[in-house]
């Protein structure tokens, strides 16, 4: 199994946490996004979309972090990343998708490049754009997380799920783009719980061999 990632990619960060939680360690290939290597012919022949992360497994190339993590969860059921009933699983997936479908796509590199090149935005404009969308998404996540009454340390209970796997990298990105995360009290508590676990700690961008 070969994992193509980049230290700072939020979606690669999600996958690293999931692999660590499952105790699965794929061989890792680092694709330098700042140098545009994800758009190289070599990488595109592997993943036509030219995005990391990607996972090569048994001659297949999987892409899209949530699809990869669901595959990992189906093939390595313990510990479950989508525990509970169908309704509980739907809540976990929805929380993950608020981040993966509503926030993260707006802050990624190709979008920031576009608004700089085509909308005349400078770095401050790009940061403001990211802050706006991250704040909107985190407000929804905070409302959901704060409404839970399970008493556990994670979004949906006392063990990390796909929700926490998406949340920790999103909070890292919030810091990176200069958003003040103080208003998200419950999310910060959950973050502290996550960061105390080796699976989350070892997946942090600053601890990857390609970190600069």
């Amino acid at each position: 199994m070969k994992f193509y990632g980049y230290f700072r990619s939020s979606s690669a960060y999600r996958c690293r946490i999931a692999f660590n939680l499952k105790g699965v360690q794929p061989e890792t290939v680092f694709v330098n996004l700042r140098e545009g290597l994800q758009k190289s012919d070599d990488f595109r022949s592997l993943n036509p979309q030219g995005l990391v992360p990607a996972l090569e497994v048994d001659g297949n190339v999987l892409s899209q972090s949530l699809a990869m993590i669901e595959w990992l969860d189906e093939t390595n059921p313990a510990p479950p990343l989508l525990p509970g009933t169908a309704i509980e699983r739907a809540h976990i997936r929805a929380f993950a998708q608020i981040i993966a479908c509503e926030v993260h796509p707006l802050q990624n590199l190709r979008v920031l490049n576009y608004i700089k090149q085509n909308h005349g935005q400078d770095q401050a404009g790009a940061d403001g754009w990211c802050q706006h969308w991250i704040a909107e998404g985190l407000a929804a996540c905070e409302a959901i997380a704060a409404a839970q009454s399970h008493g556990g340390g994670f979004v949906f209970g006392d063990s990390p799920s796909l929700a926490d796997i998406c949340l920790a990298p999103q909070l890292f990105s919030a810091d990176r783009f200069g958003l003040d995360t103080a208003p998200y009290g419950r999310l910060n508590e959950i973050r502290a719980t996550c960061e105390a676990m080796p699976a989350f700690k070892d997946a942090h961008p600053s601890r990857q061999p390609d970190a600069i």
Copy 2:
């Protein structure tokens, strides 16, 4: 079961197709996005994120179209929307997520409003923005779909999956934003197969009671 949707919302359109394929008919509530009713206190008390679609079921409110469709598929297994092995399911989810996580978030109303208000874009600029991201995503989808050799009429075989459920509404949006879809030969063939099915036909925005 109560479904909150809007005729033109791509993600509500996905859910309608899925309900039709499963033969499940929830009561439908129409939330007028152009009038901003999704931001009303009433609707936000139901779905804090203020987005449609949402699904009220057994006192729970589910949000995020893909999470809702996975819930529907888990609770109503026939016909399966994620058929096959874990690897095959990963490919279906990844295809759906190219649309749901890479394309659709960039073309939705709140983003178009933002670039008009904050980046000085007019309607032509907003359409150009949408066309750019839709073209990039559909090119990836076309490469994946054209590489399949199963001989069936849908993206991944001879029955519709979550991939087709996301594709048909995305092609509808491509038309709406003025993108020429002629380059996507295989996707157009799949679209024709889909549109011949009542489940897809009846879910079309133009056939909804709130269509204007």
